[in-house]
Symmetry: C2
Subunit: 431 residues, 2 copies
């Protein structure tokens, strides 16, 4: 469909590093799944749908670079507990009872929440084959799907999980909103031999990798005990970093780890709410940005956040490092916005397609209402995203050229059904 957005403030790429983004009053033209024009109407363009952009802001759809969407029904099941009580006392027990349908509706709820807060693409590590992927395909969302890989050496289970990744990828190859990565879970759930196999598979299958790395102090201590090195060093020596690689967390890393990440062009996903909530601390985001590491943002799963609102996560990333470094100049609003958009796209190897408003890119856009008590008056649209917005300002969402939400009404999903089904799950297994 040809969509024309009139008279809107757009956050476009800026002229240089000093001004990475520029707020411009303009028109946007969408043709099929792509942005066909900005400002100037493309020749022969005829709008089939007009959107009035007065007092509105259009941004590239946000990219949630690390989550576990199926967990959405578990929000607030386990809070203010030690990590062990949280995971073994509560979350794992619920996961053991979870059916494929529970995971499917959980993923639907997650996608609903993400869409309603401006996220148009997410990077998921899932344990339930096909369920999140099915929900993504049906909802119009964009995602990168990683089947969580757990195993040791050449064991059957580890092998079978790799095969599941490939069969899922092949089953959904007709949906161009879906890409797939290999998802080794963590250094404490995959042994070195299995990690080496995964690195080899990544080369053969030409796939990127998504892994939890250096999240907690315990992980570091155990890795040093088992392998005599840090998780980052372990990942490097297994060959994993030879492939496009997204490292989730990286809270507990030192200067040497950062140099390794930079050397191999590894992207890091910071998950500020989850890292605080589980007591892991603050990732050294300013230091990573300083070194030129590509840092993006994730929410992690709803069991450790407990929201999937990337705008909330942007506010955290733009605030907490000013606190830890006692400097109002640490991690700016522009940094946070880049992390939530173009940096996420780079991390997912999708920056030719998404992550910024440019002619020729996919039309993945979120339109925010600025005439709200939190955003008004509009002194600085970029700053208002990190420091004022709460996510509910997002009014209209376009993914792959399709309007998936209009005036906060999600057109591609059955909201009431999602509430009913996740409530059934809650009653059955979260009680």
């Amino acid at each position: 469909m040809n969509i024309q957005i009139d008279n809107i403030t757009a956050l476009l790429p800026g002229a240089d590093k000093k001004q990475p983004f520029e707020a411009v009053k303009t028109n946007i033209y969408i043709s099929g799944d792509r942005i066909a024009g900005i400002g100037k109407c493309p020749e022969g363009f005829k709008a089939e749908k007009n959107i009035d952009g007065t007092d509105r802001l259009v941004i590239p759809g946000l990219i949630n670079a690390h989550t576990h969407s199926y967990m959405a029904f578990m929000r607030n099941v386990a809070d203010d507990l030690s990590f062990e009580d949280w995971l073994f006392g509560r979350v794992s027990k619920i996961e053991d009872l979870m059916s494929d349908e529970d995971a499917y509706w959980g993923a639907n709820l997650a996608i609903l929440e993400m869409m309603k807060s401006g996220t148009t693409c997410f990077n998921d590590m899932q344990m339930n084959i096909m369920q999140t992927t099915r929900a993504v395909k049906e909802s119009g969302m964009r995602a990168v799907i990683c089947r969580g890989l757990v195993g040791s050496g050449n064991d059957e289970a580890g092998r079978s999980r790799l095969e599941q990744t490939y069969s899922e990828r092949d089953a959904f190859k007709d949906c161009d909103r879906l890409t797939f990565r290999l998802g080794p879970h963590a250094p404490y759930t995959c042994d070195e031999a299995y990690l080496k196999i995964i690195a080899k598979e990544a080369a053969e299958q030409n796939m990127g990798i998504h892994m939890h790395l250096s999240e907690s102090v315990t992980e570091i201590e155990n890795c040093r005990k088992d392998y005599g090195c840090s998780p980052i060093e372990l990942a490097e020596r297994t060959g994993l970093f030879e492939h496009p690689f997204i490292a989730a967390h990286c809270v507990q890393i030192n200067d040497n780890d950062m140099n390794i990440l930079k050397k191999h062009n590894v992207s890091v996903v910071t998950n500020p709410a989850s890292n605080m909530k589980l007591g892991n601390g603050f990732a050294p985001v300013p230091e990573m940005l300083e070194k030129g590491i590509n840092v993006c943002i994730g929410t992690d799963g709803a069991a450790s956040n407990n929201s999937l609102n990337l705008i909330h996560e942007m506010s955290l990333v733009a605030l907490i490092h000013k606190g830890t470094h006692r400097s109002p100049l640490s991690v700016s609003a522009a940094d946070a916005f880049a992390m939530a958009t173009i940096n996420g796209a780079k991390a997912l190897s999708l920056d030719n397609e998404i992550g910024s408003i440019e002619i020729g890119k996919k039309a993945d856009l979120a339109i925010l209402n600025l005439k709200t008590p939190s955003m008004w008056p509009v002194n600085n649209p970029l700053a208002s995203l990190s420091y004022s917005a709460n996510g509910s300002e997002v009014e209209t969402v376009i993914i792959n050229g399709e309007i998936t939400m209009e005036n906060r009404h999600v057109l591609t999903m059955d909201e009431e059904r999602i509430y009913a089904e996740t409530e059934k799950t809650r009653q059955r297994i979260c009680g």
Copy 2:
């Protein structure tokens, strides 16, 4: 008006310290300005208005214990700058150009934002006489108003500001939603002689006090240089702590300072977003709670936050200390909720009237829709407030028994007019 809220989940005071709050499915009965019944219908009660509470949560209206409401039109005028560039380069210059009408509409915008995110009472330090107070009276909001006092010794200006406090108090004595406190600005804007005068006035006028204390490292250093003691010690020796006292910030305090605060029953307002944003750091909230100090939460002004959403502030207070202390057990959801409700009421000497849902207290309530993608499913209503909510779930607000917002439509204010007037101010003085 008699209001009956049916079949709602209410966060009521719990049985003991181990369970400070309890989520109960019940009915609430409001008669005139007060809560007349919980669960059991009061004898002879006849509802004039019914509210369906299905899938809704009712909480005591939130209390924003430190803000400068007139600044709302200044949100996002000055971000990612050093404190000096922020204050002297930008904020002070705009304040110099500000008219009374600018301040009045700024306060209106602030009240609108607070109401829409569940705040029903705020504690304000203002520089513009009568304007915030006027907006509070008209909007149906509840507030404690403190005219900012700046001066030295027995100078004319300092004296006149005290007189303004009294004349404002007297001018609004017919509005029972308004109370007044003395507002010495800070140790660096009031000298010791003036602080002693204020302490004496507090005794004579029987008024509480609200002051910025120990916000930045520079303040501490200058106080030690000028007076040979910490700001907390200075306030103690001037006699200010002999009166009901709210200390805003207390970021830079040591163990001795905390003992002084506890000894004099001083209430502390933590302002996490502002303290991070200006690079001042993290207040020692877990340590203050451990000592039994009454800690509540504020947003500070919109020029240093840049939102007035206390639900966002609750999430910060429940997350950041888990990060700094690397403990998931630091500052719980229950702590954050107490800080945003009953502790705020105690700080304002209003805990007999507001801060909890109890029979006989004023009907100051916020009703949240739980059937939203951020709150659903409802595993734990208390935890969901700190960890999942973004503020937009607040649907209906009742203050002093009056429905001021229904289905997110504010009934007591002219929203469009507020947007138009604050936009005029922005164009004239924020450009």
